[in-house]
Symmetry: C2
């Protein structure tokens, strides 16, 4: 029954993710997209529906894979504090090139005007926050303290990502990330 699809949607989506990541959503034209995906316009629309749908799928692919990596890191048997540092480093991807975090880029560019993306970004931030909170509780923090500390840690990492785009050298970015230890200090011992 009919000719089967000549491409693997998942692979094409990964190519789309790469272009969106490099150029941003608005700056990526359909010609850019179809060229990178090695797809004709007809195949593109038949399979994916619209530019926006591909963008959403790409963001979700990126975020879901990142989150899965974080879950794996969090589940490892190493001490909770070390897991936290590993998780933060994974989010920052400080050495991932000049285009920063695709999730941060997409949220910044689209979230205020795109309800679908805004909803997903809220979900993703919430689950990532919950993961870090869990690690902090495992490290001995009370639930309330863990909550605010986790948010601050995420902010630190996301800010690091933005600072990379602003041109800070990688060495400085790593120095920033190492300051996360200060947010992991136990204040019950000191004054």
């Amino acid at each position: 029954m009919g000719r089967p699809r000549q491409f693997v949607p998942a692979e094409a989506l990964r190519d789309a993710l790469a272009v969106f990541w490099e150029k941003g959503y608005q700056a990526t034209s359909l010609d850019d997209l179809t060229a990178a995906m090695h797809l004709s316009r007809s195949s593109f629309y038949a399979c994916f529906g619209s530019k926006h749908a591909v963008m959403m799928a790409a963001v979700e692919l990126y975020a879901n894979e990142l989150f899965a990596r974080l879950v794996a890191l969090a589940a490892s048997s190493i001490p909770a504090v070390e897991s936290i540092h590993a998780v933060l480093a994974a989010i920052a991807e400080v050495d991932a090139g000049p285009h920063g975090c695709f999730f941060v880029n997409s949220v910044t560019e689209l979230a205020p005007h795109d309800a679908a993306l805004a909803a997903f970004s809220q979900h993703h931030v919430a689950r990532t926050g919950a993961l870090v909170i869990g690690l902090l509780e495992r490290a001995g923090f009370s639930p309330e303290t863990a909550h605010t500390r986790a948010a601050a840690l995420l902010a630190l990492v996301m800010g690091t990502i933005t600072l990379r785009k602003a041109g800070l050298p990688v060495a400085e970015l790593q120095a920033i990330l190492s300051q996360a230890q200060l947010l992991l200090a136990d204040t019950t011992s000191a004054a």
Copy 2:
């Protein structure tokens, strides 16, 4: 000699800034711009040259005014640590609406592909960092410690801004900012 300009360029630029801030650079069309600036296309091009030139001018206007505000806060006679909190709060502008920081938005959208903006953003981050470093030294930190702490504080603030766009409630954002105190802790006293 000749008819004088019927508009104040500085005011028109401020209108342009507002549109760029709300919609982003790519998503703002020339019609959007000229409508918001109450300018004809001809006047627009005669006075400003190009869409990109207006964008650069808008970013610089925004950043320069913000920086001037920070300098004023830093120069006040209140204790250095309080000045730092005031500076961070001013950058975060947590209550400034859903469109975040115009500087962060612009860097995220354009810096990797726009050499002019990249250069300016580097300059602005450097001077802001220097300002925070100065405050930290005034608070008693050594130059090296002040350097890394300042970068971390900026990252925390910029991350807070991004998290707002991701949908975090303002109360949480303020809780994050208050965690800056942990980055201001003097680690020489403890172990």
